[in-house]
Amino acid sequence: MKTNYLFEYYPHNSLLFRLNPLFKLIVLIAFCVLSALPNIWTVSISALISLFFTLSSGKHIRTQFFSMWKIFIFFILTGIIKYITSNSIQDGVFFCTRLITMTAAGLLFYSTTKLSALRRLLSKIISKKAADLFVMMLSFLPLIFKTAEELKEARYSRSFKSDKRVLRSFKLITIPLLIEMFQKVDEMADAWYSRGYNSDK
């Protein structure tokens, strides 16, 4: 059984956890913008900083980061494709570095931020409805990974082997995941409403 779900908040005591959520959100956005600029300095500095924090932020976050290696290989591949199509090594490297930087920064933000605090702060500066919608979207992302994990466990416990037959895996995991997610959206709305949530108040 996995004890770690990607993008799951994990109560912990460190500087990153204590920082103001709104501040972290702004830094996250700044990071994404910085790493997107076609400048060798901004790309490498933002990459270094986010990697430094990811790797120094405790075992929980490190494990999550390294468990994404499949995704990183995919990023590197897209970098290589970028290199081939644009015929510039720099473009390829930038592209791949950016993706990894953004993922690391996103992961850091997620695992160290209390969405309830963010919701409270955001609703002071933007409309309450928009803040709620944003937080609802954010809280949905970890749920996707958790559901995928649960589906896999359920399949494995019935002797399903994740074999080379991609199509079969797709049929048995990806499609149920999509169906499950649609149902989860409904259930989440029910859960919010049954706890007195009102989009107009």
């Binding site: 779900y5 209390k114 409270r120 706890r195």
Partner: protein, 255 residues
């Protein structure tokens, strides 16, 4: 007689494929009442209860909460009628147990001192004080159930619906919940419990409602309704067991 807290008039719910999940239901619920709702799997208990707090709206008929229709004002229904889901996994929203209990309290706009007080009270009542800082993904099934219950109880609604609350709770959890149910009833909250496990509750319920295939087939005093319940597939506890359980409640109340 008092004005009913909840009044269900001729409620019918037909799905888009033509199935009638609920068929002409008429029921009233009053203050200070303790109702047990039972019936076979799939008889429509959860479906009916979701109409009481406006999560579902009738396709025919109406549900009135304090005389206001759930169709007109579903928020009114949701804060007056608390609903503890059958599957607590789907009820938990936040990243920590504490935040989860706070979620409803923030929605009804309580000041933060009051929120903190109620979190501590309800966590203590459900025996989860030591879990407050934990992530709900990392607690056990029964602990999740307790968290979900604490989250609703803390909102102090006029009436609380518990959908199969005993499923998955250990003996201590059952005792804590029973104690809380009795306490809630004594302090004026109405209770509706959906359960197949009459043994645990019969001594304290004042009404037993039996459903079958989307209809109410029995409604009245628990003793008078036992036969109907048995005809609808519910196991009737032997009377000596009911007495034992009564003794258990008394002892748990004193402790």
């Amino acid at each position: 007689m008092d004005k009913p807290l909840i009044s269900i008039n001729n409620l019918t719910h037909t799905l888009s494929n033509g199935t009638k999940v609920l068929d002409s239901i008429n029921l009233d619920f009053y203050r200070n009442s303790f109702t047990v709702l039972t019936g076979r799997n799939g008889s429509g208990k959860t479906f009916l209860m979701k109409h009481l707090n406006g999560l579902l709206l009738p396709t025919e008929g109406e549900v009135l909460i304090n005389n206001i229709s759930t169709e007109k004002d579903s928020w009114n229904a949701r804060i007056k009628v608390g609903f503890v889901f059958q599957n607590s996994n789907t009820q938990i929203i936040a990243q920590t147990v504490e935040d989860d209990i706070a979620f409803g309290l923030e929605n009804i706009g309580l000041p933060s001192a009051e929120i903190e007080k109620r979190i501590n009270e309800s966590a203590e009542a459900m025996g989860i004080t030591s879990l407050l800082e934990k992530s709900p993904h990392r607690i056990s099934g029964g602990e999740k159930k307790r968290t979900a219950i604490a989250g609703i109880v803390a909102m102090q609604p006029d009436i609380i619906i518990f959908d199969e609350p005993f499923a998955g709770l250990d003996f201590e959890g059952v005792k804590l919940l029973l104690r809380k149910l009795i306490f809630l009833k004594e302090s004026g909250t109405s209770i509706i419990v959906i359960t197949h496990d009459l043994e645990k509750l019969l001594a304290h319920a004042d009404r037993l409602v039996v459903m079958s295939k989307g209809k109410i087939v029995g409604d009245g005093n628990p003793d008078a309704m036992l036969k109907t319940a048995a005809e609808n597939g519910i196991r009737i506890p032997p009377s000596e067991n009911i007495e034992t359980m009564t003794w258990l409640y008394e002892s748990s109340k004193i402790k």
